[in-house]
């Protein structure tokens, strides 16, 4: 789906929705610890993963991203005890939208990323890169 060009050619473009209080600090920590992940990973922080609109996910994939990863608050959410369930419902609705638009629902993923989950985040990015590459193989 992406118009592969220049140095980004070997990496997939992934839009990451992070959350201000929980997963964004976890992603910061990956940088602070000098862990590397591909430059095609772009992070857009929002207050909480329960507030992400499914159409934003569709829009990202139509705008040139190969995949959307929701770095959810998970069980650490300071706002909602059922944040994961709500975010999961948003992902399912997004996957329906993707199917209708003829886009593989595998292009959206979610996982709880805690405020110290730097290694988990980097591993998710590496795996998602491979999964997205295999979708086009």
């Amino acid at each position: 789906m992406s118009s592969t060009s220049g140095t980004i050619a070997d990496t997939k473009r992934i839009l990451v929705f992070s959350t201000d209080a929980i997963s964004d600090p976890g992603i910061d920590l990956a940088g602070s610890a000098h862990m590397h992940y591909p430059t095609g990973v772009r992070v857009l922080p929002v207050p909480c993963s329960s507030g992400i609109k499914p159409d934003w996910i569709l829009y990202a994939l139509q705008s040139g991203f190969d995949g959307v990863f929701i770095a959810a608050c998970g069980g650490d959410c300071p706002h909602l005890s059922d944040c994961s369930a709500r975010t999961g419902a948003i992902v399912r609705r997004a996957q329906e939208l993707l199917k209708e638009a003829g886009i593989s629902p595998k292009r959206v993923k979610m996982s709880g990323i805690c405020s110290v989950c730097a290694e988990a985040f980097v591993a998710h990015m590496e795996n998602f890169q491979k999964e997205l590459a295999s979708l086009e193989a």
Partner: protein, 597 residues
């Protein structure tokens, strides 16, 4: 914050945005071509000027930015620097000092989420940096001025729970001149501490401690104590709660308080029938044993009228449990106070009843800090300590009505099986969350996965909760000893007093909003909101949703559930997010530097 804003500037003209890209010394500039980034975004729509700075957070750089904001009457600024966790508030305040609306400042994370994560590819990192800054500019173009929500505060606080934490907190609030309503569910104050005498580490009498605190409280004009009373209703918000108290005789009373400190304490684990012999007349708990031994008037320790010569203790009963068929909902946490309390009790028994033999069956000895000395004292006095393994708990069998026998594999002697006949078996039961469902519902407090009240941040915001103005202290938050409970009570007092004594409290205006024209009131946003922050109002003859500013937390759970796309969170509007997505999806070519040989 300055009240002087650019009020005179025309609202309709195109926004003027200043962009500042920070080198962070070499932290960003070593991995990203910062100057190329500043050049590449200079022609973005709305950008009036774009500069790079060595350290945007330095006083000199901040003054430069303030000068530019003032001289050029900027509407918005974008600073691409470190993580927003470090300097978002620094720069937001700086923007305010420059006379700009602080909420038209946008922070871009170029250090943690770009430079440091891509140290191996300067060119690609620079491209990404340009995309990130463009996304910030796209967001900034669509910001609008926001004013903080100001709420007045009532200089009164409610403390719920008159255990040691609540009593100490009430006095500290009173010292600061804050009116206190101290509400206790039971007829007596003091909680567990008030029922015990000698307490670790220094044998201070808990019962007397409570009496002394109550004596001081009675002398204070600004503390009202309600015993046999429960909080049955709460309305209002931080700074101005209205709380209804119901006494045991059914009478209710309504009080005003600007803040609430919850200090409802803990309960002790109740063993299940047959658990380590529970139900046998010679099996008791540490709490009951302690109260019994302290009430013994002469020099002999007896139980049911017969002398006790041998006492065995089993530690970690009801705490540090593992999930199994017989224990589907384990209490996995450590009770924290119990090891210290048991070695202290043992040393105390040895002093008072030297003829009593004591056997301690423990898993790990967690008598930390100076309580280590009590462990030493207990051992020196002759108590025997036997370590059992997590998967090999002691087995208790009855030896008639006056005796039990405990069989244990001693890990310290390489797994030798020991059989200990005991006149009395003491189960060291740890703290478990108190059952406070109604209070939890009324205050809308979140629980941790262990079932205790949950703080915002365990380390950095340990007494604040997501409900503004409601604080937690003592063992209702997690197992704590007396000293730790009092400390957390005083921490909660200082947080509560800090907001009450200021007279008013400012709340971030980054909350949900409803577009009334698009709304057709279906109630889904209301159902999605855990804070009761949505109300249905009549606007021009139509029922529409409205956000109650003071209650909204701005997490946006109401946003994706709206079938009409009528709800948004300030700073994350549909247009802003879509604009950012478009910019982030690009992989822009850095502008070549001109006139360089």
């Amino acid at each position: 914050m300055s009240n002087e804003t650019h009020a005179d500037k025309p609202v309709s003209r195109a926004p003027k945005i200043g962009v500042f890209v920070c080198h962070c010394g070499g932290n960003i500039a070593d991995y990203v071509d910062v100057e190329a980034v500043a050049r590449a975004v200079a022609d973005e729509p709305g950008v009036y000027l774009s500069r790079d700075q060595v350290f945007s957070c330095s006083d000199a750089a901040q003054q430069d930015m303030i000068d530019v904001i003032t001289a050029d009457q900027l509407d918005g600024i974008v600073i691409a620097s470190c993580s927003p966790k470090l300097h978002m508030h620094t720069f937001r305040n700086m923007a305010g000092r420059g006379g700009m609306n602080p909420y038209q400042y946008v922070h871009v994370n170029l250090r943690e989420q770009c430079a440091w994560a891509h140290r191996n590819d300067r060119e690609a990192a620079t491209r990404k940096a340009i995309a990130l800054v463009r996304a910030g500019i796209a967001k900034c173009r669509l910001t609008r001025p926001l004013e903080p929500i100001t709420l007045k505060t009532t200089p009164a606080a409610m403390v719920i729970g008159a255990g040691i934490t609540g009593l100490r907190s009430a006095l500290a609030l009173s010292d600061l001149g804050i009116q206190v309503h101290l509400v206790e569910k039971s007829e007596h104050v003091g909680g567990y501490v008030g029922q015990w005498h000698a307490l670790f580490p220094d044998d201070v009498d808990g019962n007397r401690l409570v009496s002394e605190l109550m004596e001081q409280i009675r002398r204070r004009d600004n503390i009202t104590v309600y015993t046999g009373a429960e909080v049955v209703d709460k309305s209002g918000v931080v700074g101005g709660f209205t709380l209804t108290i119901r006494r045991s005789n059914g009478e209710t009373e309504t009080v005003q308080a600007g803040a609430v400190i919850v200090a409802t304490g803990t309960e002790l684990y109740q063993p299940a029938a047959g658990e380590f012999g529970w139900g046998h007349p010679r099996v008791t708990t540490l709490d009951a044993f302690k109260r019994h031994a302290e009430s013994a008037s002469d020099g002999t320790l007896t139980w049911d009228g017969t002398p006790v010569r041998t006492v065995a203790y089993i530690y970690c009963v009801g705490n540090r449990q593992k999930k199994s068929a017989s224990c589907p909902n384990p209490n996995t946490y450590c009770g924290r106070y119990c090891c210290s309390a048991t070695v202290h009790t043992s040393a105390w028994i040895s002093r008072r009843f030297p003829q009593v033999r004591q056997y301690h069956l423990f898993r790990d000895m967690r008598a930390y800090g100076r309580n280590e000395l009590l462990y030493e004292e207990a051992r020196n006095a002759g108590a025997v300590f036997i370590r059992y393994g997590e998967d090999d708990p002691p087995v208790v069998s009855s030896e008639g009505n006056d005796r039990v026998s405990v069989t244990v594999k001693d890990q310290l002697t390489g797994g030798e099986t020991l059989e200990i006949p005991a006149d009395l078996l003491v189960l060291v039961t740890g703290p478990v969350p108190a059952r406070n469902e109604s209070l939890q519902q009324i205050l809308k407090l979140p629980l941790s996965k262990e079932g205790f009240f949950k703080e915002i941040h365990l380390k950095l915001r340990p007494v604040e909760t997501v409900i503004d103005g409601v604080f937690i202290a003592g063992s209702c938050q997690s197992p704590k000893n007396l000293e730790e409970s009092a400390s957390s009570g005083l921490a909660a007092v200082s947080k509560a007093a800090a907001l009450l004594l200021k007279g008013s409290v400012n709340k971030e205006p980054l909350i949900a909003r409803v577009n009334p024209e698009a709304c057709a009131w279906c109630g889904q946003c209301d159902a999605a909101c855990p804070y009761g922050a949505i109300e249905c109002v009549n606007e021009n003859g139509r029922e529409v949703a409205r956000v109650i500013e003071s209650l909204c937390k701005g997490e946006g759970a109401c946003v994706p559930v709206c079938p009409k796309d009528a709800v948004f969170v300030e700073g994350c509007t549909d247009d802003q997010i879509r604009g950012m997505i478009r910019s982030l999806a690009e992989d822009p070519e850095p502008a070549r530097q001109e006139a360089q040989a």
